[in-house]
Amino acid sequence: MVVEKDMSLLEINPLVVTKDGKLICLDGKMDFDSNALFRHPEIVALRDLGEEDPAEIEASKHDLAFIKLDGNIGCLVNGAGLAMATMDIIKLFGVEPANFLDVGGGASKEKVQAAFKLILSDPAVEGIPVNIFGGIMRCDIIADGVIAAAREMDIKVPLVVRLEGTNVELGKKILRESGLKVVPADDLADAARKITGEVKKAAA
């Protein structure tokens, strides 16, 4: 069943033996490999959205990896490893991440926009560092998405953008020429330092 249904967990707990020697599964837990759901429409049909966080449901609609947390700094990053490193360095500078978000490789401008909307739907967010190291992800597409989101949503919180990688010069140019109030950053530490500074400035 585990192989057939592409499960990542199949747990029977507790399993009891009755007085007359019968085995009964009293409770169970099943987890499914989300990468394999495309070939299990029968499992997808069982999904109960009422059991999930609304922001995380919205994220999955756009194929964004998103986990809501309790802090005030909304991170938009490409790559799970870099997202975690960004969260670590933000904490080092004394503030707390409001979310984990991996926009993934090959994201479109619309996906980036959706990511912004998701982060901003959290009223606790006071600042957004965008940290992109583009391999598959292109910096010009990120820039287009940032601008589209900012124009559509009137972003009131400080925005720090660190771009590096594929098409970086084009991405930086797009941001510069947009007229948007975006604070550029050179590296991870610089981005964390600047967003902390901007958030403290705004609070003062």
């Binding site: 192989v3 990542s8 490193a85 391999g135 590096e164 594929t166």
Partner: protein, 163 residues
């Protein structure tokens, strides 16, 4: 000192006609990688629609591509539902180095790939990896080439952007 790839490595691309395969193969070619062929079932013998890749021969199978080009490495840019199959095909064709960039391949599929690798002639890198690069010689993957310099230290990283 290159370990796995260098300027003599002959590379084919599985999934070369897809959007990711096209973009990153062009970048690899521009970096100096020897791209000797591409594999897209059904498109063998045709010309790649992108002008920069028009001179790269296309094949229907990895076996045919290896036979004709003598390729010793394959980059896999095939979508998740079919990527494991693409790796298995390369293992079958005894490609010495298979680099799979694709993210999101079902775990059970990769278990089968791991089993097929045991005792085979192939070494697999990935899946869900940015690839590998030897500065100024060869690039198989999605890393922007301009950030790397020739030196004494090799870097191994678990993620795309952590580099």
């Amino acid at each position: 000192m290159a370990i796995l790839i260098d300027k003599t490595t002959k590379v084919i691309c599985q999934g070369i006609t897809g959007s990711q395969g096209t973009f990153h193969t062009k970048q690899a070619k521009a970096y100096g990688t020897q791209i000797v062929g591409g594999v897209t079932p059904g498109k063998g013998g045709t010309k790649h629609p992108d002008a920069e890749l028009a001179d790269v021969p296309l094949f229907d199978s990895v076996e045919e591509a290896v036979k004709v080009t003598g390729a010793t490495a394959s980059s896999v840019y095939v979508p998740p539902p079919f990527a494991a199959d693409a790796i298995l095909e390369a293992i079958d064709a005894q490609v010495p180095l298979i680099v799979c960039i694709t993210e999101g391949i079902p775990v059970m599929d990769m278990v089968r790939v791991k089993r097929a690798l045991d005792g085979s002639k192939s070494r697999s890198l990935g899946p869900n990896c940015p690839g590998l690069l030897t500065p100024n010689e060869c690039k198989i993957g999605i890393m922007p080439g301009n950030i790397f310099k020739h030196g004494l230290v090799g870097i191994v990283s678990p993620g795309h952007a952590d580099l």
